[in-house]
């Protein structure tokens, strides 16, 4: 383990944070979108309101981008002698973990919001008083992604590389 450079871990963490979040957002959007299109044939009034579900899924991808940008500002160069010092390793692992936290939390959040959004579109088409109530469930679902972002940012805040001078 100590032979792998901490920069590898950091880079993979950043990649996972953005890549897997976008996967979750896209998955959620297609689940909602296909049901929304079909249901809007008989009930065209639902289209504008139900775009909120798609926006919630999209927000998940934005969280991933924000965290990826924050993480990449934490990367600093250290001289080769210090690369395997415990401090560097710790910083590398912190960025890696932060990326995984954000990526997978956003993946499941995107899925959750997508499935609820699909049910929301179908029930709104039958009975419009249900929309606001199911929207509350979606809001709780999208809070999951937010938890992931908060924890990820806290993790990455402690990613301090060793100082350049010895």
């Amino acid at each position: 383990m100590v032979q792998i450079s901490p920069y590898t871990f950091s880079a993979i963490g950043i990649a996972i944070s953005i890549g897997v979040s976008v996967l979750g957002a896209a998955w959620g959007i297609y689940i909602t979108g296909s049901s929304l299109i079909g249901a809007a044939i008989k009930a065209p009034r639902i289209t504008s309101k139900n775009l909120i579900s798609v926006i919630f899924c999209e927000a998940v991808a934005i969280y991933g981008v924000i965290v990826a940008i924050i993480l990449q500002t934490k990367l600093e160069s250290v001289p080769a002698s210090k690369m395997y010092a415990p401090e560097s390793l710790r910083a590398g692992y912190a960025i890696f973990a932060s990326g995984i936290i954000v990526g997978f939390a956003n993946l499941v959040c995107g899925l959750c919001v997508g499935i609820i959004g699909s049910s929301c579109a179908l029930s709104d088409a039958q009975n419009s008083s249900l929309f606001v109530k199911i929207l509350v469930i979606e809001i709780f679902g999208s809070a999951l992604g937010l938890f992931g972002v908060i924890v990820g940012i806290i993790m990455s805040a402690q990613a301090t590389w060793p100082a350049k001078t010895a």
Partner: protein, 351 residues
């Protein structure tokens, strides 16, 4: 995996499921039926129906209307919706949708064969066939003289071919044998459909096996009651029961030896689900049995819509629509024959 269909169902089936749920919202409600039951003439019925989704289909019909025209146009609407869904579907949904129509195909085949036996004109028979069950070579059914020719000439190319292996036994076609043929075919079809649904797995398997089991049991009871007093032997009767469902195998043993309706009631009261159906009828009465069964079926079909991400909604919608067309036919007939007091005898409200 059961429970995780939500993740991938919408790739191929999401749009069509939403479309079918939209169609379901246009089924006639109890208030529509109340309005229709109060109509005096068929033109009143046409006027009420033009406010519902059936409007475009009925508006060009000239008066005087016939009940058969109303039913035909309503069936046409169902066929249009079905064809729209079928052409948008991918596997395995397209196979599933095709399975739903095999029952009508069997009915059409039997209709043409019976009609030919009684020397009716082929064109006239073709017009009476159900449009969902048409296939290309259906007109040439009238040419066949016995089972083997029937099979060899026509049926081997249709999807019904595998169901015929069980009934090629009897050679000549007379009225009794044709009914037996119809029930044997239907039994083979139900078992095939059941196996197919089980293979699909997940929520589809669970919901569809439930609905098909009820269908199989309903047919078993109907076969029993209809064959009381005929020369159908007990073994033959038992061969017509499907090999799945709540009544299999012990209920079938009891039903096979029943000689009148009260014995049937006794056999079925051991099953709580069916006991409630028979509780609605008083002793010795069997006319209302059909309506009781339809009511129970409608209740179960509506429950299929409670879950999302499965194919059972398509089957349930087709059956509910057929029930609605049966209701409309009954109401139109009662109005046309001035028997409005009997209108509520056979109308099953869907919601």
């Amino acid at each position: 995996m059961y429970g995780f269909e939500a993740l991938t169902f919408n790739i191929h089936g999401g749009y069509l499921e939403a479309v079918v749920r939209g169609h379901r919202s246009s089924l006639l409600t109890a208030s529509d039926y109340n309005n229709l039951c109060q109509c005096e003439t068929l033109d009143d019925i046409k006027m009420h129906l033009s406010a519902t989704e059936y409007g475009p289909y009925l508006q060009n019909e000239p008066s005087p209307l016939h009940t058969t025209t109303i039913v035909e146009k309503c069936t046409l609407k169902l066929v249009d919706e079905y064809k729209h869904m079928l052409c948008q579907a991918t596997e395995p949904l397209s196979t599933f949708l095709e399975y739903i129509t095999y029952g009508h195909m069997i009915d059409n085949v039997v209709l043409i064969v019976t009609g030919t036996l009684h020397e009716r004109d082929v064109q006239e028979l073709l017009e009476k066939c159900h449009p969902l069950g048409m296939f290309d070579s259906i007109a040439s059914l009238a040419v066949a003289q016995n089972m083997r020719e029937l099979y060899r000439l026509v049926l081997v190319d249709t999807p019904l071919a595998p169901y015929f292996s069980e009934c090629i036994t009897s050679e000549d076609l007379d009225d009794m044998n044709i009914e037996i043929m119809r029930n044997t075919l239907y039994k083979a079809y139900l078992e095939d459909f059941y196996k197919f649904c089980k293979k699909l797995g997940g929520a589809t398997a669970e919901i569809m096996t439930d609905l098909l089991a009820f269908e199989a049991d309903k047919r078993a009871v109907n076969i029993t009651i209809n064959s009381i007093g005929t020369e159908l032997t007990r073994d033959d009767r038992k061969k017509l029961y499907s090999n799945f469902g709540l009544l299999y195998p012990y209920g079938h043993e009891e039903l096979a030896v029943c000689e009148d309706v009260d014995q049937v009631r006794g056999a079925l009261e051991k099953y709580p689900a069916y006991q409630s159906i028979f509780a609605k009828l008083s002793y010795g009465e069997s006319q209302m049995l059909d309506k009781a069964f339809y009511e129970e079926e409608v209740k179960r079909l509506c429950l299929a819509f409670e879950q999302q991400f499965h194919y059972g909604v398509f089957f349930a919608y087709m059956r509910l629509r057929e029930q609605e067309i049966r209701n409309l036919m009954w109401i139109s007939e009662c109005v046309a024959q001035n028997q409005k007091s009997r209108v509520h005898d056979s109308v099953v409200f869907i919601f």
